[in-house]
Symmetry: C2
Subunit: 324 residues, 2 copies
């Protein structure tokens, strides 16, 4: 029931996943009648579990989840807790998905704080960069950042097949002696972690360039960076649409430039990569974009399936175990 195009595109994404033969079995959780309307006669093999309410946008997620046990994200997450599902996927409010994951599934033993991976489209040969923490944890310390780097490395390896993913620490300069207290401490810990492929410091401009597979920072800075990029792309895409391809001449130019426009859009089309599980949660809870349409939803389910099949949660647990 979450996201800008729910439930229609969520349901359509599930159908798309089923129709291309995705291995996961699907359970749709939410308003049964509304879901049934979209499913129509195509419901074969898809289970529906009714949830009468949702966490409203204005609500404090944890409060809503404690007060009502019939929210769609609460019911779906409890299916995982109860072993009736292997993963939960949501395009809804990230705060609500995270609150449900923390309250119902809890943290992996040994992981002190969870992290949210914001997947970004990048222009290097990499397909996407995992920016984390995109806002799950406020006031992280250097040891938290080290754990985030390990969790993200496990995620990029297990789910996206990246061999020894490189970790860049977002900082105000490339030199090891640059940064605030947190960055300096984190740099020292990361440089000493032999299990990680630590690249060193990277700068803000390197994130979208895809200099590293993982761009590591604290949840405050990561959230601001992720939203800044989102805003910048919106502003630029709106400007291109209105300024360059608006008006009669612009429309003509747009027809001529169509193949190029498609190529340009393709760079920011990263439906297969946009979804990511909450890292550090004792279960697979995948967050996808609130703007998710059917195709993005289909890929979000695939990410969840790969996280389960590759035993990502166990892998994260083993990174948290004290070194031998």
């Amino acid at each position: 029931m979450g996201g800008d195009h729910a439930p229609d595109d969520i349901v359509r994404g599930a159908l798309l996943y089923r129709d291309i033969g995705g291995p996961a079995e699907l359970v749709l959780v939410g308003d049964e009648a509304r879901i049934a309307r979209v499913l129509g006669t195509k419901a074969t093999g898809i289970e529906v579990v009714h949830a009468a309410s949702v966490v409203e946008m204005g609500e404090h997620p944890a409060t809503a989840l404690r007060r009502r046990d019939d929210t769609s994200i609460g019911v779906a997450t409890r299916l995982v807790k109860d072993g009736k599902a292997d993963a939960v996927v949501s395009a809804g409010n990230t705060g609500a998905t995270m609150a449900a994951a923390l309250l119902i599934l809890g943290r992996v033993r040994g992981i002190d704080r969870p992290a949210l991976c914001g997947m970004l489209p990048v222009t290097s040969e990499r397909k996407a960069t995992c920016l984390l923490d995109a806002g799950a944890t406020m006031d992280a310390d250097a040891r938290n950042l080290l754990q985030f780097a390990r969790m993200a490395s496990a995620f990029m390896t297990k789910v996206h097949g990246v061999d020894r993913p490189s970790v860049g620490l977002i900082n105000v300069g490339e030199e090891a002696e640059k940064g605030d207290k947190l960055a300096l401490e984190a740099h020292a810990l990361l440089a000493g972690a032999e299990d990680l492929n630590f690249y060193g410091n990277i700068e803000g401009r390197d994130v979208l360039r895809g200099l590293t597979d993982i761009a590591l920072t604290d949840g405050f800075t990561g959230n601001v960076v992720a939203k800044t990029l989102e805003g910048a792309l919106d502003v630029v895409q709106g400007g291109i649409r209105r300024d360059i391809f608006g008006g009669p001449l612009g429309k003509l130019a747009g027809l001529v430039a169509l193949p190029g426009i498609r190529r340009f859009r393709g760079r920011f089309d990263y439906d297969p990569y946009v979804s990511a599980p909450l890292l550090g949660i004792a279960g697979v809870s995948v967050v996808t974009h609130g703007r998710a349409k059917a195709n993005m939803m289909r890929w979000a389910i695939a990410v969840a399936e790969r996280a389960v099949a590759s035993r990502l949660v166990e892998a994260i647990g083993s990174t948290a175990a004290p070194a031998a």
Copy 2:
């Protein structure tokens, strides 16, 4: 001597400023022979002061300034200290300009830490937003942020004529109870500061939208945001050039769309606003973009002149005085 196009475009910017009748008297500081070559026969009314060396890009600025007293930024800043000039303007390494300003001019009495204002082009009716601190101070506390807000308000009022500039605190959500420890404390201080026009929290996506005149954050986050935006605009502009308007069809489309492309570029053409004085320094030291060409340089001189004429440094000093 600083910046990508020095000394040629720096000199040309000075000539441009003089030729449009700008009120400031100009002193060019650097390699006398190279400057003379660009000035040619047009040197009327422009003084040249020789400086034999520069702070090299790889050098630690403060060390270079302590070791050599003939760097162009050192000599130029000392002209201000000695009362032989009212302001210094540089397109060189921001770190070197800042180190010279701190070492030679020092801080305004009562201001604990300096702040760097990164001026951003925005799409609202505002011309530009001052993002600060863009990296002058690491590990700022909430009282530092309050001072930054007051300094930026004085700057936007005095230099850009903005009446009661609005201050947005960059945070992970709009609600007052959102954020890390620093953001929560800063919010409380800002909300209680009756001399400020405090808007409340803003998010990363609001910065480029120009929701407020001032986007306030600590120097770590501000630096990362500024460089992230720079990188994003580079990536997008490169993509537009190559993908949409590259190739024969694209070139044709580009001809047809030319008025629109000019309109689009115009949005990011903010030469009059890009330069800003270092805030909290006991003198006017204006930083402009390393990419500055003559026109941007001309405007940087105008910003310096307005900062001097409007007594910005004194105004900042009076915001630091204990309230009556």
